[in-house]
């Protein structure tokens, strides 16, 4: 498996949200704004890289029968450690992100990558898979968040300076001043709505790309592991 392929899979073909449809719980819960989506995505990426690397490092010692509890234990420990260190040493960031950190355990994309990739591949490839899968997840969450935020509140990346520091305040754009807001876009149903539209757009684009390349359109063979 070459590294280019890993990158392409993570960002597009096997995108956690847009192809594998994993991690729906955090996807729906936090994408009320672009900043929230970005924050959740980045926190998940850190955990994904670390958990993939560790799982790959110990993969020969873990027998098939007990691998799931071992992986879950490792992931939960990692998330808790990230949570505690953020709280202690990056407290201002924690006040923004803290809400999401615990949710990462419930993101089965992390377990999914440990099981589907890291348990069979060397450490470097696994860490890279974690990185690109994480960034693909971040991209999808940010995109959903931005659409919901734009229609729901008329802004883009509001409060980004809380997440990224005061230097990034330039990202905060009020697209429509004095906008009344569309409440539904901020409530959970719009999460499904926007995700559905994004999925449809991705499929349309892929069909179009396949047709213009004159090859038979093949839907991406997503590995569905079966959780929310």
């Amino acid at each position: 498996m070459n590294y280019r392929q890993i990158m392409k899979d993570g960002l597009w073909t096997q995108n956690v949200v847009l192809a594998q449809l994993l991690g729906m719980c955090p996807t729906m819960a936090v994408t009320t704004s672009g900043t929230n989506g970005l924050g959740m995505g980045l926190a998940t990426t850190v955990v994904l890289v670390a958990s993939n690397a560790i799982v790959a490092a110990i993969r020969d010692f873990v027998s098939h029968q007990v691998r799931i509890p071992v992986f879950i234990g490792l992931i939960a420990t990692m998330v808790t450690l990230v949570d505690m260190s953020l709280n202690a040493w990056f407290h201002d960031l924690y006040k923004v992100l803290g809400l999401y950190i615990a949710l990462i355990v419930a993101n089965c994309a992390v377990l999914g990558r440990a099981e589907a990739f890291a348990a069979r591949q060397p450490v470097v490839a696994s860490a890279l898979d974690g990185l690109w899968m994480g960034l693909g997840f971040t991209g999808a969450l940010t995109a959903i968040g931005l659409v919901r935020e734009l229609i729901g509140a008329g802004t883009l990346f509001s409060q980004a300076h809380l997440l990224l520091g005061p230097k990034f305040a330039f990202m905060e754009i009020t697209v429509i001043p004095n906008y009344g807001g569309v409440l539904m876009m901020i409530l959970p149903p719009a999460g499904f709505l926007v995700l559905g539209l994004l999925l449809a757009t991705k499929r349309l684009y892929e069909r179009h790309a396949a047709r213009s390349a004159d090859v038979v359109a093949q839907p991406a063979a997503a590995q569905t592991i079966g959780c929310h």
Binding site: T32, D60, F61, V62, S63, Q65, V66, P69, V70, G73, L74, A76, T77, T80, L81, M84, S85, N87, A88, W89, H91, Y94, K95, G152, A153, G181, L183, I186, L187
Partner: protein, 205 residues
């Protein structure tokens, strides 16, 4: 590696490996907790100090509020922790938390009251109200909560302690009535609590 592969299939290997992993992760957690515990407490103390400073005017106290606390049982029987502000030894005001049920769970409000029972400030420090509607009680989203500054049980009179929709003196905001009502109830409850225990708060140790 082949020895490892043989070992891996033995029955004893499964519980043993699981046990070892559990021990390693527990040790990592214990170590992590030990390493971060002090700093987390310090960070939370800084948070508390920052929110205490928000509900008291600058220069209102010359003591360390976090070290001058007392506990009094509230109306519901639960102890309320009061932080007392002093100037030259005399209690000039107090800060404590009040809460009530909002539209989606508990709303916790931190309020500061001076020794005459007048509001110095109120800040919602925890809530789960609907984003875009009820979250206007958050000072970061709207200035609504600043309306409480300077109010007391006498001004406006008790029957005016309600949102305008209910014939009171306080604004509600479009689309949300339950949320401001809940904050109002919490703040009023806090003032009544102060009035009931005034003696104790101002003179007790």
């Amino acid at each position: 590696m082949s020895t490892l592969a043989l070992w891996r299939e033995k029955l004893g290997y499964q519980p043993l490996s699981l046990g070892i992993i559990a021990m390693i992760t527990s040790a990592a957690l214990a170590f992590g907790n030990h390493a971060t515990h002090g700093d987390i407490l310090k960070a939370e103390e800084r948070d508390l100090q920052a929110s205490l400073a928000q509900v008291l005017p600058e220069g209102f106290a010359d003591n360390d509020l976090l070290k001058d606390t007392m506990k009094i049982n509230g109306a519901d029987g639960k102890p309320v922790t009061l932080y007392r502000a002093r100037k030259a030894g005399a209690v000039t005001g107090t800060v404590f938390q009040v809460s009530s049920r909002g539209y989606a769970g508990e709303i916790v409000v931190l309020i500061g009251i001076d020794h005459e029972g007048k509001m110095l400030g109120a800040r919602v420090i925890k809530h789960q109200e609907t984003p875009g509607l009820g979250d206007k009680i958050d000072v970061a989203k709207s200035k609504w909560v600043l309306d409480f500054d300077g109010k007391s049980l006498e001004s406006p009179p008790a029957e005016k302690w309600a949102v305008k929709k209910d014939g009171g003196a306080f604004d509600q905001f479009a689309g949300a009535t339950i949320t401001p009502r809940a904050v109002m109830k919490a703040v009023k409850g806090g003032l009544e609590f102060f009035a009931a225990h005034k003696q104790e708060i101002l003179e007790g140790s």
